[in-house]
Symmetry: C2
Amino acid sequence: MKTLIIVSHPQLAASPTQQFLKASAAGVKGATWHYLDAIKTLDVPAEQALIQAADRLIFEFPLYWYQAPASLHEWLAAVWTRGFAYAEAGGKLTGKTLGLVVSYSQPQQAYQIGGSEGVAMSTLLSPYQALAHKTGLQLLAPLEIAQFSYLTEQQRAELMTRYQQYLTLERPTRFADQAAWFLAQLDQKGTQDEHVALMATTLAARQEQLAGLRHTIAELREGEDD
Amino acid sequence: MKTLIIVSHPQLAASPTQQFLKASAAGVKGATWHYLDAIKTLDVPAEQALIQAADRLIFEFPLYWYQAPASLHEWLAAVWTRGFAYAEAGGKLTGKTLGLVVSYSQPQQAYQIGGSEGVAMSTLLSPYQALAHKTGLQLLAPLEIAQFSYLTEQQRAELMTRYQQYLTLERPTRFADQAAWFLAQLDQKGTQDEHVALMATTLAARQEQLAGLRHTIAELREGEDD
């Protein structure tokens, strides 16, 4: 899968979150880091070609006053022209997926009715749902990064995994896809480590059990339909 | 009332809507037109002083991909610092009002569930509700301008009235405030026109009737409480 990570952040070097994500994306095959604030003059056809070459687009940004920073808005206004983007006008985006990687400094539970921010993240991000609807993009549930600076090492490792899966898995929240991803990762690392080899064997066995169970359930259902 | 109209639009001269609003605001006492895209370098203390001097702030913008253009986001990120804006940090905005003047090219009914855009305007504008909540600003219901180019002369005249009221009335949607506004306008125009003088007299009489009715209702209610 080819993934274009469109990053909007006015001070990337000063952001530990973005530095972490950049390092996490660096090892991901097919992922391209595209940092908007570094672009001096927008070359619209070149930007559109980049987008067209991707299967998945990621908008990655911190929340500033509950919205993306200026560079994402500027880029969208210039590059996502009607003819290029509107599904009804024969746009070029239909069928691709769109992911949102959103970071903020409040705890995740702040963003709900009755929470300290008083509004749900899904409500704040509704413009991207409307954009996906208009362009024929399939929107993924957002990957939210709350209070990155408070994360433990273990939590950061988990975030790296979730992020890499978000960039590459067809359905990032589906268990079977996640398990397959882990198996591929373990396979890459090789089986020189006894512990890793055991995990890989166990996971593969569980996957087979799961497939077997699915098959049984499917057969039972067929019986029901008779 | 002192009103600061903060306008975000990358091509103001090419926008008939904004030119119309600018002309409508020109005659309004206490209203200042503040065009963000013309600012080369933001002078943060000067911007903050402008804001502090106002009783009402208006964010005025067209919808680009369901959000304000880049300049509003840039200005907010630079000028609305935590110490200046957060109510919990002793911010300077508490008690002022915030209005939103939003223009778009679809019909108004497109913005609702089941409408062609599939999302309500209130949902799309929720970041400003969160911003008002955070800063202690009192949010006014938005003034929406749908398909300005299709408006008749009569509809434009009505829009001008609604806009001028939105800039200056404490409660722009309250009938009594609107009627008082009309009386003041008629008063300014003088009574040299017989027709205008008749309208003014009628409106003033209706206002008195209305006040009388309110008084009667209040007395009846007191009776109920006995």
